[in-house]
Each structure stands twice: as C-alpha cells, then as structure tokens.
C-alpha cells in the first residue's frame, strides 16, 4: 500500500490569525485516518485547502504521487478523485435523492451506466426507498448519507468526511459507521474528521490530532486519546475523550 495523500508544511492564515501552521501528515491508500482536535483547531480549514476552496499560503499537497498546483480549481480536484462532505450537508434541494446521485454519476459515465451506478449506490447507502423523495425534505441523518452517496458517484479515491456523526443519535451513529465501513471496503480511503471519539475508535486505523492549527500528535486512536497533551487540549471542551 502506498501513500495516497501527502501534506507537507501546509500553512494558511486569515487576517493575521494562523489557522493552520506547518502541518505535515500523510494518508495511506485504503486506510481510515481520523483528524481530530478541538473546535477551531483547523480541521475544516485543512479539508478546504485540500479540496481547493482555500488557497494555502505555503506548503505542498501531493496526491497519488503528483503535486496538486494551488491554482487547480475545485472541480478538477474532484475529478482526480478527491471528494468531501460538508459539515452541514448540502443536498441539491431542488432534486430528488435519485437525481442527486444520478447527476454526479453522469460526470464519469454514459446515461445507462450512470443509472446502474446510481442504483448500486442507493442500495449501498440504504437510500433506496427514498429515491423519489425531494432531497430538501430529508432528515439530517439521511442528508448526511446522501452527501456520502453523492461523493461515491464521483469515483473517489479519497473521501474527506467532515463531522458526519454530529447531531446523530446512537442508533443512527451505528448505522452510519456501518456505511463508512462499507465505503472503506470498496477500497476508498477515508479522512475522518470527528468529535465523537467513540466513532473514531471504532472505525479508524490511525489518528492525528490538531491543536491551534498545529499537529499535536499522531498514532493509534486509543493511544492518541490517552495522550496527556491531547487530554489537556480538549479539557474544558465539550467532547467525550478516551472513547467511552
């Protein structure tokens, strides 16, 4: 297994505030890497830089062996197989669940193939019975799933999941974790940004921790969560540390 994404010395600041500083990390092909840290530690900013929404001040993002130039636009990065979901899901609210996925499947396939692929994804993500529902009317959980389902249609190699668990109850969370495992089983690498440590421990192979825009530590999820520095960073935070 090789390295899929290699982030080197990544930095960005907004109006003098250093949101991310000299960040280094890498993701191996096929793994589920957790990116954790307190609110405002720079997790979403990192995702946005990889996805092309923010342009980093300095640093190199290497994907699949190639350096991604800063000026490459969002759509082209997506075409390379870099997919992401949003903290607040963003369905195409004017379309049905089926069309949400079908539209994206059309990007890489002929019409008939796209149909099949859409049906497969609907089955995989268990949205089959909602296929004709207007996506604006879905519950939060189903919206998050739809976000994931759409990214599946982009033929992704890497999916960056931005807080998929937030706002879900335990049963929904369990179901979502199953879905993520199923996605990973398809050979897709996952960058898993999360506050819910139970989920991190259950699904991730490795974790990196950000604090105030800097890499704090890196390692096995359980080890990392017991690291005194991590506990200190989270202290006063609302999050349930150490995976209970």
């Amino acid at each position: 297994m090789g390295t899929l994404l290699d982030v080197n010395d990544l930095s960005i600041s907004f109006g003098g505030i250093k949101a991310v500083q000299n960040l280094n990390f890498h993701i191996d092909t096929g793994e589920v890497l957790a990116l954790i840290g307190p609110n405002g530690s720079g997790k979403s900013t990192t995702v946005n830089m990889i996805a092309g929404i923010y342009i980093p001040d300095k640093g190199i993002i290497k994907y699949d062996g190639h350096v991604i130039p800063n000026k490459m636009d969002i759509a082209n990065r997506a075409k390379l197989g870099i997919a992401r979901t949003f903290q607040t899901p963003r369905p195409f609210a004017n379309l049905t669940v089926y069309d949400n996925i079908y539209t994206i499947a059309l990007l890489h396939n002929k019409y008939t193939e796209a149909k099949e692929i859409t049906n497969d994804i609907l089955k995989l993500t268990k949205l089959d019975n909602l296929r004709n529902t207007n996506s604006g009317k879905l519950s939060i959980e189903k919206r998050k799933w739809l976000d994931l389902a759409r990214t599946m249609a982009t033929r992704p190699k890497l999916i960056m999941m931005d807080e998929v668990m937030a706002g879900l109850n335990p049963a929904e969370m369990e179901a979502s974790l199953d879905l993520i495992r199923a996605i990973n089983k398809e050979g897709i690498t996952v960058l898993f940004i999360e506050h819910v440590m139970k989920a991190v421990v259950s699904v991730c192979t490795r974790a990196i921790v950000l604090n105030q825009g800097k890499l704090l530590c890196e390692g096995e999820p359980r080890e990392v969560l017991n690291n005194p520095d991590v506990v200190a960073a989270y202290l006063g935070g609302e999050t349930d540390v150490a995976g209970n």
């Binding site: 946005n48 929404i53 923010y54 342009i55």
Partner: protein
C-alpha cells in the same frame, strides 16, 4: 480637443457625484442586508415626483422640499419593507432581486398611471446658472448635487462609526446571529438601513430635478450606471460606491463628450465587463475565495 476633454471630465465627475450618492444608498442596504435593492431607480423617480408635488403646492425652490421628500420616502420605505421585504428575509437573494425588480417596474408604471407621461419641470433660477472657471463651465445644480453628496456621505460615515445605531448596523452586517444575541434588534436595524437607502434614492431624485425632466422613466439611466458604479467599486463598500460613481460618471462623460452622445451606456457596459474580468470583486471588495 483638450477643452472638450476637460469639460467632459468636469461634467463627468459632477454627474458621477449623483451616481455615487445613489450608490451609497444601495450600498447601505446591501451592507446590512446582503441584498441588492433593484427598485432604487424607481424610488428615485418617486423622489422626483414628491419634489414636483411640493413645488406644485408651495411654489418653492426644490431644495426646500428636502424635509418633505425625506418624510415621504421614509414612509414609502416603511410600507415597502413591511409588505414586501419582510416576508422575504432569510430567503435566497434571487427572490430578492426578482421582487425588487418587480417593485421597480410597478412603481415606475404607477407613476406613469398617476402623473402621465408628460415631462414635468420645476422652474427655478438656479436651473440655468453656472459657475465659470476660465473657459470651463460648471452647471450650478450639478455642483450643488455634488456638494450635497459629499456632505451626505460624510454624514453616513459618521452615523456608521460614531453612533450606537451605526455600531448596531455594522454588527448586524458582520454577523446577524451574534448581533441578535447581543440584544440588537436585527429587524429594526434592517428597517432603518432600508429606510436610509430609500431616502438616499429619494434625495438623489430631488437633487436632479433641476437637471432632468421629471418623467416616469427618468430613473432608467440609474438602473445601469449607478448599479455598475456600485459593483465596480466593490459591493457593500461606501468608499467603493463613491469612487465607482465618479469613475462611471467620468467614463460616461468622456464617451458622450468625445465619441458620441448616444454611446454612454455602451461605454459603461464595457467598463463593467472589463472590471469583472480583471478584478471581479471591484476596487475595494475583499478578494478571497469563499467556502
């Protein structure tokens, strides 16, 4: 040739002053509500008609009509806000564009329905007087309008930066949710911002009554020039509206003065496209890729 150039430049700067004043009104509304009010050009027409009504009743010079126009425009703004803007707060900006354009068309044709299409004039001795500097002529009404613009823009600056109301408006503009938590009544702030914007449009209308005929379609030149001014200056920035207004006035003045009297709209249209190509966020807009 130089005479034509300088004279066109002067008249361009002066008419740009009115665009700037009008643009500041749009900017205040955009700054606070993040919505572009496309009905402002018809509000300007109503400002002109209110001025004419004042003249028709009292026979006084248009500048005496300022309090009357302010009150009428304020009332008009309040009604528009309650009936049309409020139901749309929180919806997307396309709806707002559509509704204000509908309102614009409605107000313009209402004026035509009520007052007819015959151009009306407000006679006054100022109308034809001018200031002579060397070989160049400056029309007095345009000069007064320009000075009024400067005064009003400074007043707005003071309002936004020195008063509690201004701070509330800026807070609402930055983060409406936070402003609400701090106990600022955002609905009230919106209402006031909208009223100020509409009053600016009305005052712009008043100031141009000595220059243009009062007709229902007098606002149409503002529909292009003034909105372009706001955009090339950088949406939501008062300095931008000021500079953009004058730049557009100058371009229009130079094109009409030196190339052809009819091609003003083409010149400013090209200026808009050019600025959007080169610097999409405008002169003073913040250039940042957004999430």
């Amino acid at each position: 040739m130089t005479w034509v150039f300088v004279q066109s430049l002067i008249s361009g700067i002066l008419s740009g002053g009115v665009y700037a004043l009008f643009g500041v009104g749009i900017t205040i509304i955009f700054g606070v509500m993040k919505m572009v009010d496309f009905s402002a050009c018809s509000q300007l027409v109503w400002g002109m008609y209110f001025t004419w009504i004042f003249y028709a009743v009292t026979g006084l010079n248009c500048y005496y009509a300022i309090p009357f126009v302010v009150i009428c425009m304020g009332a008009l703004a309040f009604v528009i806000f309650k009936l049309i803007v409020r139901p749309l707060l929180g919806s997307n900006d396309t709806s707002f564009i559509l509704v204000t354009l509908g309102l614009s068309y409605f107000l313009q044709n209402l004026a035509e329905f009520v007052f007819g299409t015959d151009p009306k004039t407000i006679p006054s001795p100022i109308k034809t007087s001018s200031i002579q500097i060397g070989e160049y002529t400056i029309g007095l009404p345009r000069f007064i309008a320009f000075c009024a613009m400067i005064v009003l823009v400074f007043a707005v600056y003071a309002l936004l930066n020195k008063t509690t109301l201004g701070r509330a408006m800026r807070a609402t503009a930055e983060k409406p949710e936070v402003a609400q938590m701090l106990g600022i009544n955002t609905k009230k702030t919106f209402t006031i911002a909208f009223m100020i914007g509409v009053i600016f449009a009305g005052i712009s209308g008043l100031l141009i009554t000595p220059i243009y005929y009062v007709t229902p379609t007098s606002g149409s030149m503002f529909r292009t020039a003034a909105y372009i001014a706001v955009i090339i200056g950088g949406l939501g920035d008062i300095k931008g509206a000021l500079v953009g207004g004058i730049v557009i006035g100058v371009i229009e003045g130079l094109v009409t003065g030196m190339i052809s009297n009819d091609l003003g709209p083409v010149g400013i249209g090209l200026a808009l496209l050019l600025v959007l190509y080169i610097r999409p966020q405008g002169f003073f807009g913040k250039g940042e890729r957004r999430a």
